[in-house]
């Protein structure tokens, strides 16, 4: 049911953990739905120098988190903002249709962490104007 890539990221997830002095922390999803993702970002000069995640969820939720962290690590905030759920899913060689919401969650977790960063530092990030981290990703598909 899952691609080899998903399984590989599930088996060996990258960037699991916490960053105690994170510059931005975001959490999306809720336990009722069976998925929660929490992202920690370390940001220096507009560059995401470190990222860690913790996820409660199914195989594709863990793989999506792992892939998303890989995709934003070392990137600028603007570049990170362009990491869409589709890009995450594609990098994983696809997800089953019923699991697409996991990639949505991953995208949102990054954005939630960036939002947190922007609010703490009182800076504006293009594209986060209408972002609501509490929106239910299950409605996206």
């Amino acid at each position: 049911m899952y691609s080899e890539k998903v399984m590989e990221h599930f088996r060996n997830p990258r960037n699991v953990g916490e960053i105690p002095d994170a510059d931005g922390v975001g959490q999306v999803g809720n336990p009722k739905c069976g998925d929660i993702m929490k992202m920690y970002l370390k940001i220096e000069d507009g560059i995401i120098v470190d990222v860690k995640f913790k996820t409660f969820g199914c195989g594709s939720a863990i793989a999506s988190s792992s892939m998303a962290t890989e995709m934003v690590k070392g990137k600028s905030i603007d570049e990170a903002m362009k990491v869409t759920n589709k890009a995450v899913a594609e990098s994983l060689d696809g997800l089953p249709p019923v699991k697409m919401h996991c990639s949505v969650l991953a995208e949102q977790a990054i954005k939630a962490a960036l939002l947190n960063y922007s609010q703490k530092n009182n800076i504006h990030i293009d594209g986060l104007e209408d972002f609501d981290p509490d929106e239910d990703p299950h409605d996206h598909h």
């Binding site: 049911m1 899952y2 399984m7 599930f10 088996r11 997830p13 699991v16 916490e18 959490q27 336990p31 009722k32 739905c33 069976g34 998925d35 929660i36 993702m37 929490k38 913790k54 996820t55 409660f56 969820g57 199914c58 195989g59 939720a61 863990i62 249709p97 019923v98 919401h101 299950h138």
Partner: protein, 392 residues
Amino acid sequence: MKNYIYMDNSATTPVKKEVLDEMLPYFSEKYGNPSSIYSLGGKSKNAVENARDRVAKVLGAKSNEIFFTAGGSESDNWAIKGIAYANKNKGNHIITTKIEHHGVLHTCQYLERQGFKVTYLDVDKYGMIDIDELRESITDETILITIMFANNEIGTIQPIKEIGQIAKEKNIYFHTDAVQAIGHVKINVDELNIDLLSLSAHKFYGPKGIGALYIRQGVKIHSLIEGGAQERNRRAGTENVPGIVGLDKAIELAYENIDEHNEKLIKLRERLIKKVFEKISHVRLNGHPEKRLPGNVSFCFEFIEGESLLLSLDMEGIAGSSGSACTSGSLDPSHVLLAIGLPHEIAHGSLRLSLGDFNTEEEVDYVVDKLVEIVQRLREMSPLYEKVKGEK
């Protein structure tokens, strides 16, 4: 597939060698159509009738009360739709429970869309119905009570005798989905006042795609599959002779030494439960502590999600199942776990390990060891676990 540990015997079982051996001649040698007049057909006919006799004997029924079907789901649909349509002049009310298999639940929901009324009984935290609630839910319109014998997810065995007694008193048909019970529980349809009973061979080391429906003589029921005169005009279709022969042998083996077999399973089950509780914290056992299927173990591990647990077990060569309907495209956790009152986030962390005749103590111990590692690993990854660790 050496060293593969299969603990999903409630989902399906391997066909036992003795069973397959009995089936084999009926594919390419004794392949006659049982309805045929010539001798080759007669051999098939005999095989089918011998199987019918055996199933009848196991259930304490008469041979002409046993009808072969393509499995548990067909039997459930036939029983419920067949009774509903044939008795709608008497009433339009059906009573069932919230924890039935989808074969019953979705059939009842279908009938609701066709204008029938259905009461879905609650269950307690062990998955048991309340006999008084059942009694109170009966109306003048009630034509059918359909309550499963034993639950496929949490293993709880219902008070079937009491239910049958009530149904009999009130003159209401009683169907039980015994798909999980057959092979593990001794059942006598007369003692238990069962009018219809569904069973499926692949749950007791028989082949997939063959089952039976017991229909008490005199029960008014429509057919689900009309056509030829097979199964005394009540279930059309050329008989799946090898399948029926397999069902015959499998049910023979299952009841031959059922006590021993159950004793062995219960011992394994209790070992598994005891060890898990010793070694893993924040875990619950779902279902009734005693009134449960001999091979059924159902846990909820807090702070983790069932699917990632299953995938991790599979990576270690262990086959288990989750209560959650992940693969079915639904995002909700199992309706059974919600019905016994578990909050969503805990219901998501369910794991069913269903033991079978081929499991050993060594396997149980190995599985527990792996579970300890996997649960630990997934919890370390879980943002829900952080808090608990913090709180400690």
